[in-house]
């Protein structure tokens, strides 16, 4: 019967094509919030139409005019949409048609076609109906807030906070417990210090939506505990678009500043990569690098030293403003007319998208500080003792280039898309500091020195995604599969740090004080392959819709990491004319010339202990059942199995030295007795089962009660399971891989397993208004924290270790509410805000407790529990939005803060470091111009309160002291975009 109906439609709709306009849209089932697949969309007069595809989308080509449209679907009420205007050659988008269940009310629902609404409401509907707890942000909201990148957009989501402008934290839990996926695929993090993807790399114009899930369900990866954030990129644009936008940002304290620091880089710095200017010099990584002790002639050594870039000093140049531009283009083409072609390939449609973005910014911080402080020995002394304080200025110039292209093909029952993306980011940093080291502190020799730091970081990410979705004819079976390889790199070529030591009588390089000049090359390359398939079976159970979902995923990652370091030595007595660092490589003082005779030593054994190759393989399978136990009570029960293996190739210094010796003396390389070495050996292996229970109970039509339980996991990172010793050239702080056994630490770092419990009440109101309250509890078995190594007094060294068990309990309140309940005049205003409060505690190990007890102050009573590292006690997001549809004007004021989190766990001599809350207040204004609203102007002010980003050492009854501090300043940005 239906077939006949559509056949009639097909015949009747073949006619004038060229001048036609198009009606497109999406149809949802209001009950479930899901898209309606196979709903009939019919233009009443002249009779033509189509049916929705597997995305719930439809497209009708029709002559210009004004039409009434009828949307019908089995067992749902038919909806009439009146007065749909179609213009020649244009697309009219009718988004968000929600069909009510026929059982609830009989009759036909009539609505009037209004201004196009995007998917904000759809996301809210998804949130309301999803059995798992989730929050999201749509392209629309990003446009309103003027957010330039995914990271800016993400912080609008309940309980989300951002650190360092790059990393996403959920519910105040640390990076370790958060996870970011791109199109549901694991993307390698580019920073070896972090687990997750740096979100500042993704420009918003490539993003379709961002969804944050706070509860694990079996179809998700199990290695997140705070939240899983998925960024979905665009595939099928609803209508043809060609958009060009430019923007600029002005920060009075940073831009057009003549104090801005920079140094000469390569000719391609403006494209985000180094042209080889900073490459390793020839012979620098050879087994016998030329030096006075290598056996090379003086002339050879001299020439080799000269092949290093001689610039060691930052120069002052006036900074420019930030600017950005992007171009995007996309469309979809119906390959056959409305509902045409055979039943197997109905409505074939091709979608394509292309986007390129360029962004550059200049930063200048005029008062950056890094401190090291200690507790005084006497129990009656409270104030912290300064060990080292580094203060100065720092500049950076960052370039981001992003390109994405996507091609997608779909028919009513199948969709395949291919997306390719490349992101390129280069950041050049220059700094000038003064170091004040105090000999009254333990392990410190006391000196005054300068420090000149020149750095360059080059990151890239190339990702390809092949994604298919298929539906059986009876729409009972759905298959979704994805294959996605990613290649990413992060290079730090030629980090130069040079600092003179000042004594009352002399200025020179002192290895024992400010250090000799050094340079570092770092490289990280990672490849990643994800393949996954999800199969859903829709059926009826207990006379209600039910879903059986099962699937499998395979993830493989391989990382290569290497640090090469070169230290300068002086052959003769030092004699300098000034404290200009460039003198160190002046040809007149390079070895064998006198005085000074500067040359480099290679600090890198043939087998580098600061290099490793690690790989992981994670094979997962899951099954979950979504069903209604009663019309009001829905559940998802599921279990996921993950078989995880991590391999490591690396060695410690002792082995590396012995190997090098055996190599040069012809010894047996397979039988090195000294030290430790791992050659592609398994360092972590487990098969885990992760159960999850999600229950949603409809208290009333618009109120839900939710409960969730799940088990999740947090695994050590590549870097943590290694022998690497990584120095931060700016702060001189060391990271030590966990393999090193030390005192009570056995070198055996294991995964953290977490039990999660969640309760939530939520009330949905019209126009996207929401109120919700949640309580959550998590218990951590063997959490990993970064611990200050107490036995090392000379340098600040840290190691990741399993500490005592931990738990946390939190509450989360959220409200999105129009203001008309206060006054009618405020009808265009709405408030959205959320507050997360968390109380966490870790049971200290005996050693930590005793170490703290040794430094207990008079009047202090040290508890054997403390907060979890990285856990903020509160997160607050609040915003007021004004929206005037007629005037096409929107404005919003947004506030975000994360409570003081324990950043580094101190021990005894070393006090704890807490992150100071950063009060971020941003204003965004957005106005559409022109009759069609094709031109958009937006204006934004960030950090209105002018707050500083700071961390402090804190100790009982003592004044807090700087660990790190800088002032991001206030920035004013303006953007202009035009749709053609």
């Amino acid at each position: 019967m239906k077939k006949l109906f559509f056949a009639l439609l097909l015949v009747s709709s073949v006619s004038v094509f060229a001048q036609n306009g198009t009606i497109r849209g999406t149809v949802y089932e209001e009950e479930s919030g899901q898209t309606a697949i196979g709903a009939n969309v019919v233009v009443v007069n002249p009779l033509t139409g189509t049916s929705t595809d597997l995305d719930g989308k439809y497209s009708i080509s029709i002559a210009p005019g004004t039409y009434d449209i009828k949307v019908s679907y089995i067992s749902f009420q038919t909806q009439h949409i009146k007065g749909v205007v179609v213009k020649s050659g244009e697309v009219t988008v009718l988004d968000d048609v929600y069909l009510k269940s026929a059982a609830m009310e009989l009759g036909v629902v009539e609505v009037t076609a209004t201004a196009t609404r995007k998917s904000e409401a759809a996301l809210n509907m998804m949130k309301k109906k999803s059995v798992a707890m989730m929050d999201g942000i749509s392209a629309e909201k990003m446009e309103l807030t003027g957010d330039a990148s995914a990271v800016d957009a993400a912080k609008r989501v309940t309980g989300v906070s951002i650190e360092g402008g790059k990393y996403v934290y959920v519910r105040g839990l640390g990076d370790r417990y958060s996870k970011v996926t791109l199109n549901q695929v694991d993307i390698p993090g580019l920073d070896p210090d972090k687990n997750s993807l740096q979100m500042d790399l993704i420009p918003t114009n490539l993003i379709d939506n961002i969804v944050v899930s706070k509860n694990f369900t079996a179809d998700m990866p199990a290695d997140f505990t705070g939240g899983l954030m998925n960024v979905e990129t665009k595939a099928f644009p609803d209508s043809k678009f060609m958009e060009f936008s430019v923007g600029t940002s002005y920060n009075p304290s940073m831009h057009f500043n003549k104090d801005y620091l920079t140094y000469d880089g390569g000719n391609t710095d403006f494209l985000g990569y180094d042209d080889g200017t900073r490459a390793l010099p020839r012979y620098s990584n050879s087994i016998n690098m030329p030096s006075p002790s290598s056996g090379h002639s003086n002339q050879q050594v001299n020439e080799f030293v000269k092949s290093f870039n001689p610039t060691l000093d930052a120069e002052r140049k006036t900074s420019l403003m930030d600017y950005s531009m992007s171009f995007s283009y996309g469309d979809q083409k119906q390959l056959a007319k409305n509902n045409e072609s055979s039943w197997g390939k109905k409505n074939p449609t091709l979608g394509y998208i292309f986007s390129i973005a360029y962004k550059t910014d200049y930063k200048y911080y005029d008062d950056v500080a890094y401190g090291e402080y200690q507790r005084p020995t006497e129990s009656s002394d409270y104030e912290l003792v300064q060990a080292n304080l580094k203060k100065g200025e720092q500049s950076s110039h960052s370039v981001l280039v992003g390109a994405m292209a996507g091609l997608a093909y779909k028919t009513t029952l199948s969709k395949i898309r291919l997306t390719a993306m490349h992101l390129q980011n280069g950041e050049s940093r220059s700094g000038k500091f003064f170091v004040e080291n105090s000999e009254s502190a333990v392990g410190q020799s006391g000196f005054i020195a300068s420090s000149n730091n020149l750095e360059y970081n080059e990151r890239s990410l190339s990702n390809v995604l092949l994604h298919g979705q298929h539906l059986t004819e009876d729409r009972k079976w759905e298959v979704d599969w994805r294959i996605s390889p990613t290649y990413s790199t992060s290079y730090d070529p030629d980090i130069r740090s040079t600092g003179f030591t000042y004594t009352p009588l002399d200025t020179f390089f002192s290895a024992g004080a400010g250090g000799n000049p050094s340079r570092i090359w770092r490289s990280l390359e990672e490849m990643n392959l994800t393949a996954k398939a999800d199969i859903t079976y829709n059926y009826e159970l207990f006379e209600e819709d039910a879903k059986l979902k099962f699937g499998s995923s395979f993830n493989y990652k391989d990382r290569n990491y290497e640090i090469l370091k070169y230290d300068m030595q002086f052959e003769w007595n030092q004699d300098w004319n000034s404290d200009n660092p460039n003198q160190a490589l002046d040809p007149s003082v390079i070895f064998p010339n006198q005085p000074n005779g500067s040359y480099y030593y290679n600090s890198n054994p043939f087998l580098n202990p600061n290099a490793y190759e690690s790989s992981v393989q994670n094979i997962a399978a899951y099954i979950s059942q979504e069903m209604s136990l009663s019309p009001r009570l829905k559940t998802i029960l599921g279990v996921r199995m993950e078989s995880f293996t991590q391999w490591h190739t690396g060695r410690d210094q002792a082995y590396a030295q012995a190997f090098e010796q055996a190599l040069s003396s012809g010894g047996d390389l397979r039988n090195i007795q000294a030290g430790n070495s791992l050659n592609d050996e398994v360092v972590l292996e487990s098969v885990d089962f992760f159960p999850s229970v999600n229950v949603i109970y409809n208290l009333t039509e618009d109120q839900n009660l939710r409960f969730a339980y799940s088990k999740t996991i947090a695994r050590p990172s590549f870097k943590e399971l290694s022998f690497a010793q990584i120095i931060d050239p700016l702060t001189n702080r060391y990271f030590n891989g966990a393999f090193f056994e030390y005192e009570d630490w056995d070198g055996n770092l294991v995964e953290t397993r977490i039990d999660n419990l969640d309760f939530r009440w939520e009330k949905f109101m019209e126009r996207g208004q929401i109120v919700s309250a949640s309580v959550f509890y998590k218990s951590f078995d063997s959490p990993i924290e970064l611990v200050r190594i107490p036995e090392q007094q000379t340098t600040a060294e840290y190691q990741p270790r399993n500490v005592g068990n931990a738990s946390l309990v939190g509450i989360e309140l959220e409200a999105t509410k129009g203001m008309e309940f206060i006054s009618e005049k405020l009808a265009d205003f709405s408030f959205s805000g959320n507050v997360t409060l968390v109380r966490s505690q870790v049971d200290m190990t005996d050693r930590e407790f005793n170490a703290r007890k040794n430094y207990e102050k008079d009047g202090q009573n040290i508890d054997d529990r403390r907060p979890m590292a990285g856990q903020a006690p509160y997160v607050i997001n609040a915003g007021i939005t004004y929206k005037n549809v007629e005037k096409a004007f929107q404005a919003g004021l947004f506030y975000n803060v994360k409570g003081p989190a324990l950043q580094i766990v101190g021990t005894g001599l070393y006090p704890d470091v807490y992150q100071e809350p950063f009060h971020s207040l941003n204003l965004g204004v957005n106005k559409k111009l022109g009759e069609e609203g094709n031109t958009t102007v937006d204006f934004k002010v960030s950090n209105l309160l002018g707050d500083r980003v700071e961390s402090f050492f804190q100790s009982y009854e003592a004044e807090k002291q700087i660990f790190s501090s800088f002032n991001p300043g206030r920035a004013f940005s303006i953007g202009l975009s035009h749709k053609f």
């Binding site: 990569y273 020839r282 006075p292 020995t377 004594t503 290895a511 007595n573 030295q657 090392q792």
Partner: protein
């Protein structure tokens, strides 16, 4: 499972090759950093290269040159015996590659040189052979070529913990721990030992002293020690109870005599010549335990041949030291004794300064006036003859007239 992984690697390799060909990165440029620059004379010197830790009793004899090819540790329970006249040469390297000889807690060194046959620790660059005192090819200024000699023991230290990691050894090597509860701990014997051209750079504020004594006990015998051209300090004590006699330090890159963590022993008879840092850097306890040391009978040259020391004596608010019978000469304008005035635990007895004409003794004591124990004088206090013949400093004539 391995095959599966291998297949993935191959597949990923192909993808990477593909990605590289389209990517903008410069990493595909020719990498010539690993090219080898050939050398003219790659002579095999016949040295015995030592690159692994010493775990059983071992003897080094003077008929061979021992080359330190790694950070070599004499581990707990092992004894390293070095014959008089033996030459030990450290290979070059900094940071992770720095070579040093470490006597770990429980390990022993029996290095009993003689005045006619001292034991010499130097750099591989030094062409010196057994029987020679002066280097045939290096100057006394050349430093930082290798690490140094580090002796660690179980005597008490005053630090943030009962045992801590010694400066210059990465945290990852537990053989760098020192400190304990045995004041009479015995790390062996060190006699007529000359240590040269060391002090490899480990990182900012972190390098290796010529002779490092961490928690070394009073059962250890240390006498007739020379340190020449070390990039960091000459001799540094970290707590411990060991007594040391006859020390000569020439051209230290940082301090000459450095004490920390409540060393409670005595240094008797010494010569210090032109360290770049402090002539004496004397710190106090860092933990709850206190302890005082005595430094006596010495002569210091504070400037010579353009090398000028940062200051003369440096003590802190919590230093605990008794300085007795010391003469400082060749003082230049601006060099002073820096101390915390009201610290009752620092005493100056018979300290004489060879002051410039037209100046007053008070000009040489920061936050003066000069305490009673510091006066003007011109006579050396060290017994110079103790260094004759076996020390390079004396042979080079640097001790003449002191």
């Amino acid at each position: 499972m391995k095959n599966f992984r291998f297949a993935t690697k191959v597949l990923m390799g192909a993808v990477v090759a593909c990605a590289l060909s389209v990517s903008l990165t410069s990493c595909s440029d020719d990498d010539d950093s690993e090219d080898e620059l050939p050398i003219q004379n790659n002579d095999n010197n016949g040295n015995v290269v030592v690159s692994s830790n010493i775990t059983t009793n071992t003897t080094w004899t003077k008929d061979k040159v021992y080359e330190l090819g790694a950070r070599v540790v004499v581990e707990n329970g092992a004894t390293l015996t070095i014959e008089p006249g033996t030459v030990i040469k450290g290979q070059s390297g900094t940071g992770a590659s720095a070579r040093a000889l470490i006597i770990a807690r429980g390990g022993k060194i029996m290095a009993e040189g003689t005045a006619s046959e001292p034991i010499i620790f130097t750099t591989k660059r030094d062409d010196i052979t057994s029987g020679q005192i002066s280097s045939p090819n290096l100057t006394a200024e050349q430093n930082g070529q290798w690490g140094g000699l580090i002796i660690l023991g179980r005597a008490p230290i005053s630090a943030s913990a009962n045992e801590v990691q010694i400066e210059g050894i990465p945290t990852s090597d537990p053989n760098g721990l020192y400190g304990g509860n045995d004041p009479a701990d015995n790390s062996g014997v060190l006699k007529y030992v000359s240590i040269r051209h060391g002090g490899a750079d480990i990182g900012q504020g972190n390098e290796i002293n010529g002779l490092t004594l961490g928690g070394v006990g009073s059962g250890t015998v240390i006498e007739n020690i020379e340190v020449v051209g070390n990039q960091d300090d000459g001799v540094e004590w970290f707590g411990g109870t060991v007594n040391v006699t006859n020390v000569i330090v020439w051209n230290a890159g940082d301090d000459a005599i450095d004490t920390d963590q409540a060393w409670s022993g005595t240094l008797d008879n010494f010569v210090v010549i032109t360290p770049a840092g402090h002539c004496f850097e004397l710190d106090g306890p860092e933990g709850s335990m206190s302890g005082s040391h005595t430094i006596k009978n010495g002569t210091v040259v504070a400037s010579r041949n353009g090398r000028v020391s940062e200051d003369l004596i440096n003590t802190d608010a919590n230093s605990e030291v008794s300085l007795e019978n010391i003469h400082i000469t060749s003082i230049v304008s601006g060099q002073t004794i820096n101390r915390t005035v009201d610290n009752p635990n620092v005493s100056f007895t018979d300290i004489t300064l060879d002051i410039l004409s037209g100046t007053n003794i008070d000009d040489y004591v920061a936050d003066g006036p000069a305490p009673a124990g510091i006066t003007a004088g011109t006579t050396g206090k060290a017994n110079i003859s103790a260094f004759s013949n076996w020390s390079w400093t004396a042979v080079a004539g640097e001790t003449n007239g002191l």
